[in-house]
């Protein structure tokens, strides 16, 4: 009996600790809930994103806040676990009474959390979840990056057209939703553009040894290898592939982006390409200011996740400012009305699916680890304007893609795509332009 009492006391005190947690304070602050994975297997992504968001918040607070109100960030870790992400968002919308939510990097966790934000009618903006499913959870869910089908189509098209590849090998992280999602689109679009996927090999995140796969890929003799995975694995793969004498370029997605990519992969990555949200070597003054500020503050070059998170936070602040209210519905409307917000990762407009419309940057890795902007591809909705000849490859590639894919409103106004570093025109957008590299 004593023991039961003892344990009940422990549980009761824990519950008390739970109840006494600081919850939402006074009404003179704008409370933004941020849920990210700062521990667990994707901790590095979460930490990057949190850094970007913190910087954006401090900037706006230094400048006097939003309409005179200071921004208060409530940052919570979800241990890289979907269910825990849902728990945190429940806490945000009830205990903490946040006015808006920023989060997650991984689509799986955004999908788990989105219905809760939707039910509570609190706008949620995800900086980097690329699965189309996320924003389908409701009209309060927004995304400030491109979606997988669009990115996949861009990668495949780049391989088929710009690199003139006919035979492709695919290297997929089978355990990773991001990678398998891209794989499908890449192989479909690449095949439609006249190429052939000669071999598909897979690995699992954290694998150290790719020699078996490389031996098989080498046997198939491809012109290009698509590696839609995360940078740690990609860099290792590149190194081992070069060790085994494979010389064809590797092409991947935004998962490659990290200063560590070149640190690990080194010269093995020279001449490879990946699609990205931005490049820290871009000469655009907005980008350069962000990169300099970030470096002063954290001592490292910001990766794309930091940049998209920074943008997402600023888009959210901007919407709250325009809404001039902390009401969920008003902020939602203001977010939906966002037009050409000048972000680090391009000018952001939300389409009717609440997905950001902005250019995809194809980055070329050059000797010494310089990320050079090789091409820019403007994307509208789920359709690739550059592939207007074939009816919206992305939508066809992924049945799950938003319905707008059916009517590709190929709006390629130069204004929408123009940023100082590029010379895109509607015509140019059709066949991507090599830009003068900085």
């Amino acid at each position: 009996m004593k023991r039961i009492l003892l344990s009940l006391t422990i549980v009761a005190s824990l519950l008390l600790a739970l109840a006494c947690q600081p919850s939402g304070s006074g009404g003179d602050k704008v409370r933004i809930g941020v849920f990210m994975s700062t521990t667990g297997d994707t901790a590095n992504f979460g930490i990057s994103s949190v850094n970007g968001i913190k910087m954006a918040a401090d900037e706006v607070n230094l400048a006097g806040g939003i309409n005179g109100k200071q921004v208060e960030l409530l940052i919570q870790d979800d241990r890289s676990d979907a269910s825990e992400a849902a728990t945190i968002v429940t806490k945000f919308v009830t205990q903490d009474q946040v006015h808006a939510i920023l989060g997650e990097v991984a689509s799986s966790r955004s999908i788990a959390a989105a219905p809760i934000a939707q039910n509570a009618k609190i706008p949620m903006l995800t900086p980097s979840s690329t699965n189309p499913e996320v924003t389908k959870k409701g009209d309060y869910i927004f995304r400030s990056c491109f979606i997988d089908p669009v990115q996949g189509a861009a990668i495949a098209q780049f391989g088929a057209k710009s690199l003139n590849a006919k035979r492709a090998a695919l290297m997929v992280d089978r355990k990773n939703d991001y990678s398998t999602g891209l794989e499908k689109v890449i192989s479909e679009v690449f095949t439609r553009l006249g190429g052939q996927v000669v071999v598909t090999q897979s690995y699992q995140a954290g694998d150290q040894d790719f020699n078996a796969q490389i031996t098989s890929i080498k046997g198939a003799n491809p012109d290009v290898i698509f590696v839609p995975g995360y940078y740690g694995d990609v860099a290792l793969f590149a190194k081992q592939a070069r060790d085994k004498g494979i010389t064809v370029p590797l092409v991947g997605g935004d998962g490659w982006d990290s200063p560590s990519l070149y640190q690990i992969g080194g010269a093995a990555l020279d001449g490879c390409y990946f699609s990205n949200h931005y490049s820290p070597d871009d000469v655009d003054p907005i980008v350069q200011k962000f990169v300099t500020d970030f470096k002063t503050r954290y001592g490292t070059v910001p990766d794309a996740l930091a940049a998209t998170a920074y943008d997402a936070a600023r888009i959210m602040f901007d919407a709250i400012k325009r809404a001039n209210s902390l009401d969920g519905a008003a902020i939602r409307q203001a977010l939906a009305d966002t037009k050409e917000f000048p972000g680090v990762t391009g000018k952001v407009t939300f389409n009717e699916n609440r997905d950001a419309v902005k250019p995809i940057v194809m980055v070329k890795i050059e000797a010494g680890g310089k990320f050079v902007v090789a091409e820019r591809v403007q994307v509208e909705g789920a359709a690739m304007p550059t592939a207007a000849t074939s009816a919206s490859p992305a939508a066809a590639a992924s049945p799950a893609a938003p319905a707008t894919g059916a009517s590709p409103a190929a709006k390629t106004s130069p204004a929408a795509t123009k940023s100082p570093a590029m010379t895109t025109s509607p015509a140019a957008a059709k066949s991507p332009v090599k830009t003068a590299t900085p």
Binding site: L18, D81, A82, S83, T90, Q95, I111, D177
Partner: protein
């Protein structure tokens, strides 16, 4: 009062209390955050109590519980996604119709998990101790690998679009049912056979207990209940990801059982609540949260090795080194010897040697 009448009244009271609480919670009189944690605790209770049946009462060391949970979760989710909406519509589409759908899903999930338990249990329960552990762990991982590759249920991208039927009533009904089932098993002839197996498998067999049959039965029941827990989880967030069912999850459930005390149902319930609430209660510590969590776990194990409510009896079956103070040192050693010899023999460092050969070698070395 006749026994069945008394039981019926208790059952009705429990139902009424659960329904009443459900009603209170639906009215949002308490923060949904607490209710969510409470419901997660309810799911954890189902899992921990069911694992206790096999680990605590039968004395078999299984660490693949998350695999069975995954089978239950995915099979029921597939049912709900494919037939759920239709079935609910045919039944009138109301709250009751969804309750019936959820009941059907629970039965399907539990049945599939039980079947998986049978497939895994029949071959592997011949093994003992750590070997059984590693085989169950292996099966758990294999299930996850397959889930990652089944496209119908989303593969690695996860399975979304499962109808969300979060219900405090249903979660705790299953939890209470699990507790009642395990309690009744333990206090029946079946349960005594299980405990006999835990205490001494050879002796139990000598007394005429069909040990294999009982072990497999306990394993199947335990898996089916884990499957029911999986069903609850699937319909809780409406999203499943194979990542959630890796061996770490099995460890989590195992920790709940051992922290609460092996062979104690109340202990498992407390362990489940404790380990669900603890990470939330530590939220204020930011990035040090999980460091503190693991430190607390180690300290708890050092200070209360038998768990919060564990009886020492459950531990003897584990050929553990725990002994009663009243015994003398010499008695201990003999008692220890009879119990430990098998496991020691099994795994010596290097080749197995008898004591004489050890001595011979020594003299040679001199």
């Amino acid at each position: 009062m006749p026994r069945y009448l008394r039981n019926l009244i208790i059952a009705l009271i429990v139902l009424a209390v659960l329904y009443g609480l459900d009603f209170v919670f639906q009215a949002r009189m308490i923060s949904p955050y607490f209710i969510r944690i409470l419901m997660l605790s309810g799911i954890a209770i189902t899992l921990a109590v069911s694992l206790n049946l096999i680990n605590g009462f039968t004395g078999q060391f299984s660490i693949g519980h998350a695999g069975f949970m995954a089978v239950g979760a995915y099979s029921s989710a597939y049912f709900s996604v494919t037939y759920g909406a239709n079935l609910a519509a045919t039944l009138g589409g109301g709250k009751l119709a969804w309750a019936i759908c959820l009941a059907a899903a629970t039965i399907i999930g539990a049945a599939f998990a039980g079947l998986a338990g049978l497939v895994v249990g029949v071959p592997s329960l011949r093994l003992k101790g750590d070997y059984l552990a590693i085989v169950t762990l292996g099966f758990g991982q294999i299930i996850v690998v397959f889930l990652n590759n089944i496209e119908v249920v989303g593969g690695a991208r996860g399975y979304s679009g499962i109808p969300i039927v979060q219900s405090f009533f249903w979660i705790f009904l299953i939890a209470v049912l699990t507790i009642v089932v395990v309690y009744n098993i333990v206090h029946s002839a079946f349960g005594r056979a299980l405990i006999a197996i835990r205490e001494d498998e050879l002796a139990a067999e000598a007394m005429g207990v069909n040990t294999t049959r009982y072990k497999v039965m306990a394993f199947v029941i335990s898996s089916a209940m884990a499957g029911a827990g999986g069903v609850l989880l699937a319909h809780f967030d409406g999203y499943l990801n194979p990542k959630s069912f890796e061996f770490i999850k099995s460890f989590e459930i195992l920790i709940m059982v051992i922290l609460g005390g092996l062979g104690s149902i109340v202990g498992s319930v407390l362990g489940a609540i404790l380990l669900t609430v603890l990470p939330e209660a530590l939220r204020g510590f930011a990035e040090y949260r999980m460091v503190i969590y693991s430190l607390l776990l180690i300290i708890l194990m050092i200070t209360r090795p038998q768990g919060l409510l564990g009886s020492t009896a459950a531990f003897r079956g584990w050929r553990g080194r725990r002994r009663k103070k009243s015994r003398t040192e010499a008695e201990e050693i003999t008692a220890e010897d009879t119990r430990d010899s098998a496991s020691v023999d099994k795994a010596t460092l290097g080749e197995r040697q008898s004591e004489t050969s050890l001595r011979e070698k020594d003299s040679k070395n001199k």
